[in-house]
Amino acid sequence: MNLEASIDYPGQTILSGPAASVMGSLPFAAASQETLVLDIGGTTTDMAILIQQVPLLDPVGIELSGHKTLIRSLKTRSIGLGGDSVVRVVKGDLTIGPDRQGGPMACGGPLPTPTDALVVMGKYPEGDRSASLRGLEPLAGQLGMPVEKAADRIFEQTCREILAAAAGMITEINSKPVYTVHEILEGYQVKPQEILILGGPAPAFAAQLATLTELPVRVVPQWQVANAVGAALAKNTCEVMLFADTEQGLAVAPEEDFSQPVKRDFDRKGALKLAFDLLRKKCMRQGASPQEVEMETLEELQFNMVRGFYTSGRNIRVKVQVKPGLIPEYREIAAGLFAANGVS
C-alpha cells in the first residue's frame, strides 16, 4: 500500500519485512510450479510458499510472538537461524542460534557463527580467516575433529535445520482442516518442486542446500536487494467477506461497515457482485491503481434456512480477494532491470 494508506492502516504493516522478500523473489519463481522461498538473513531465516508465482496467505491472520491476530498476511515462518547465529557445543551436541550476538568473528564479532564456518571453508570472500579459525578451533576441539571438518559440520547442520523447519511448515499447511467432502478429496496439497534463496549469504547456502535435497535450488538474482524490489513492486492485496440473509432481507459486510436490504430472490451471484464492488472500492482507498485489481473468489457458500418444515430463506456467505502478486505494469520492468544487469 502507499504511505498515506499505511497511516490509516498501520497494523497491516507488521511482518512486511519477510513479505517483501517473498514478493521480490516472485518474478524468478517458476510460473507453473510450487516454490519454497528462503530468505536467509543474519538473525533469522524466513520461509514462504509460492504457488505458480502467487504467494500463500495465512488463512486466519498471522501470529506474532505467540499472539494471534486477524491481520491478513503471507504465510511465513521465521526461525532463529541465520548467517550470524551463535554456534555452540552443548553437552557434545552442536547448537546453532537462536540468538545473535553481533556479526561473524571474521568481521569483528564476539562469537563463532555459520558465516565463520563458510569463511574457514573458503566459500565466503570477505573477512579475516584467522579470526574465524580462532572462533571455530575450540568448538572443533569439543567435537573431537579437525577444524575444517567442524566448519563443514556446522554449515551442513545449519542447512539441515532450515530444511527441516520448511518441511514442518509445509506439513502444517497441508493439515489445515477443511469442511467439505470436495476439499478433503480434491483438496490441494502443497509439494514444492523448487527452492529459491535470497538474502546476504544466499549463493554459499545454495550450493550446500542443493546437496541435501532432491529439489533444484536457485538463487534470486540481485539477492541482496530483492527484498527492497519486492517492497516497491508488490500489489495491494485485501479481501472482503459478505453475508446475506434473505429471510431478514439484509446483506452485510461487517468489516466494511456495509449493509444493504436485499430481496427474497437474492442469490450467490448477487452476493458476489456486491462483494466484488466493495473489494474494488476498498483496494482503491488503499492506494491501488485500477489495473492492479485482479479479483478472485475464495469462498462461496449457500445454505437453506428451515423454520418448522418450511424453507424460510437462504443464508449466503462469500469471500473475495485481490490476487496477491506484483503490480502488472512493473512485472516486465523488474525482469528487464535484472536482465540489463547481466542476470537471468
Binding site: 489445515k176 482442516p177 469442511y179 467432502v181 478433503i184
Partner: protein, 440 residues
C-alpha cells in the same frame, strides 16, 4: 489466554456439500450454526484445544466390521469415508497420547448401521464408532471398550455389531422404543448367549428432562462402567434428545449434556443425531467441548432455556427409579445366565426382520451361533432381502478359540449353494476378510 485442563482434540467435519436428499433433515446446514458458534466463541483459540483434519478410512476398515452387499463402495458415499475417518482420527490421536480426549463432530452419523449392510437405515450407512473401535483394537491392542450411546434413538446398529461380544459393553439410553424409531432397545435386550450383560438398554419415557438422564447416569451407567473396567469409553453423543428437537420428544438441554459429559468423562465422543440446527446443536456442542476440556461451562445456555418449563413429571421420576432398579437387578444375574446358556446348548439361533427406512429395504436374518465354552463363539448369518438377494456370512470373533476358527472356515468353504449372491468370511483373529461367489 484461556487454557484447557485436559488436552482435547476436535475433528470438525460438517460436510457442507453433502446431504441425503434435498428435503432430508440430515442435510448440508445441519452443523452450520454450530460451526459459527464454535468459531465466534473463540473455542479454537484456546490453548489445549486442537483441531484436526479427518483421516479417510479404507475399505478394509469397513470389512473388519460389516458385511456389505453387494460391496462396500455400493452402500456408501465418500462422505461416509470421511465421517468414519473423523472418528478414527480422534481415536488415533488419543492412542498416540497427543491428546487426552477428543470429539469427532462429524456427519453423516452411524449408530443405526448393523453388522450386515444392504443399504442405508436411520440416516446411517456404516457404523462410524464400530469402525473406529475395531481399528484401534487391531492397531493398538485395545481390548475392553465401553460404548455409551446417549442419542435419543436406540443405537440398534451398534447393539447388533456387539451383541455377541463380551469385551464390549454397550449401554444405550434413549426414548422408549414404543414411542420412537427404531422401536427397539428394551431393557430385556441384554446380549447374546455368550455375552449376556454386555448390552444394557435404558428406555426413558417421553418428556424426560435433565433429572432423568443424570439419574440413570449416576445410578446405572457409572456403576456399570466401574464394574466393567473398560480400556476406553466411547460416547455416541447424539443430540436429538434436546427439548427443541423437531423429530423427538425429550427435554434434555445444553447444561444437562455438558454435566453428563463432565461426569462420564469419555475418552472419545462422536456426534450422532440432532436436528435442531439453530436451537440446540450450537449450544449442546459448545457445552460438550468445554466439558471434555475440563473448562467452566456454566454460562452455556440456549437463549430460550427455562429449566422449570421443561421439568419432567413426578410420575416420570418414579418410573425411571423403578426402571433403574430392574436393570441393575437383571444385570447382576448376567454371569449366571451365561453359564446356564453354555451348559444347556451347543448352538443358538436368532431370527429377525430388519427394515431399512432410508432405502426402503426389508431384510430377513437368521443367525446361528456356536455357544462355545472357551470363547464368544463363531457366528453364521443367512440374510435375504425383498429385492431378491440372499447372502451367507461367517464372523470369527477377535478372541476366537482354535475350534471356533476352524469351524468358521469349514462353514465358509462348505457353502457352495448357488442361491447365495455372496458368501463372506470375517476372520478377526487374522484381520482377514474374504468373499466368494459374488453376484451383483
Amino acid at each position: 489466554m484461556l487454557h484447557t485442563k485436559v488436552k482435547t482434540g476436535l475433528v470438525f467435519f460438517p460436510a457442507f456439500d453433502w446431504a441425503i436428499s434435498d428435503t432430508h433433515p440430515e442435510r448440508e446446514e445441519r452443523l452450520l450454526y454450530t460451526q459459527d458458534q464454535v468459531f465466534e466463541e473463540g473455542l479454537l483459540d484456546i490453548e489445549g484445544l486442537v483441531e484436526y483434519k479427518p483421516d479417510l478410512i479404507t475399505i478394509e476398515d469397513i470389512q473388519r466390521v460389516h458385511f456389505c452387499y453387494p460391496d462396500e463402495r455400493r452402500v456408501i458415499t465418500e462422505s461416509h469415508l470421511i465421517s468414519a475417518g473423523g472418528a478414527k482420527k480422534i481415536g488415533v490421536e488419543v492412542m498416540e497420547k497427543r491428546i487426552e480426549r477428543g470429539f469427532a463432530l462429524v456427519r453423516p452419523p452411524g449408530h443405526h448401521a448393523m453388522r450386515v449392510v444392504h443399504g442405508a437405515r436411520g440416516f446411517c450407512n456404516i457404523n462410524i464408532e464400530a469402525i473406529m473401535i475395531e481399528y484401534l483394537r487391531q492397531h493398538y491392542g485395545v481390548d475392553r471398550v465401553a460404548i455409551v450411546d446417549t442419542d435419543c434413538h436406540h443405537g440398534d446398529g451398534t447393539q447388533d455389531i456387539y451383541w455377541h461380544d463380551p469385551d464390549t459393553l454397550f449401554i444405550s439410553v434413549h426414548q422408549d422404543g414404543r414411542t420412537l424409531y427404531p422401536g427397539s432397545g428394551f431393557h430385556n435386550e441384554v446380549g447374546g448367549p455368550t455375552a449376556v450383560g454386555s448390552t444394557v438398554n435404558i428406555p426413558l419415557p417421553p418428556r424426560t428432562s435433565e433429572e432423568g438422564f443424570l439419574f440413570v447416569l449416576d445410578e446405572v451407567i457409572l456403576p456399570l462402567l466401574a464394574a466393567f473396567k473398560p480400556d476406553l469409553v466411547v460416547n455416541s453423543a447424539g443430540q436429538d434428545n434436546h427439548y427443541t428437537d423437531p423429530i423427538t420428544n425429550m427435554c434434555f438441554s445444553a447444561q444437562g449434556y455438558a454435566e453428563l459429559t463432565s461426569r462420564l468423562k469419555p475418552d472419545i465422543a462422536v456426534l450422532e443425531g440432532g436436528y435442531s440446527i439453530e436451537g440446540a446443536l450450537p449450544y449442546v456442542n459448545v457445552g460438550i467441548i468445554m466439558a471434555l476440556a475440563g473448562m467452566d461451562y456454566s454460562k452455556v445456555r440456549e437463549p430460550d432455556y427455562q429449566p422449570d418449563k421443561i421439568r419432567q413429571s413426578p410420575d416420570t421420576t418414579r418410573y425411571i427409579e423403578r426402571l433403574a432398579q430392574t436393570i441393575l437387578e437383571n444385570w447382576q444375574k448376567s454371569a449366571e445366565l451365561r453359564e446356564k446358556h453354555r451348559a444347556s446348548m451347543k448352538f443358538a439361533k436368532r431370527e429377525r426382520n430388519i427394515f431399512y427406512d432410508t432405502d426402503q429395504i426389508c431384510e430377513s436374518q437368521r443367525e446361528h451361533l456356536r455357544v462355545c465354552p472357551d470363547c464368544s463363539g463363531v457366528l453364521a448369518i443367512d440374510s435375504d432381502t425383498d429385492r431378491g438377494r440372499q447372502i451367507y456370512a461367517v464372523h470369527i470373533p477377535r478372541k476366537a478359540c482354535e475350534a471356533c476358527r476352524q469351524q468358521g472356515y469349514e462353514w465358509y468353504e462348505a457353502c457352495r449353494d448357488r442361491r447365495y449372491d455372496a458368501v463372506f468370511l470375517q476372520d478377526r483373529t487374522k484381520d482377514r476378510y474374504l468373499v466368494k461367489g459374488l453376484r451383483r
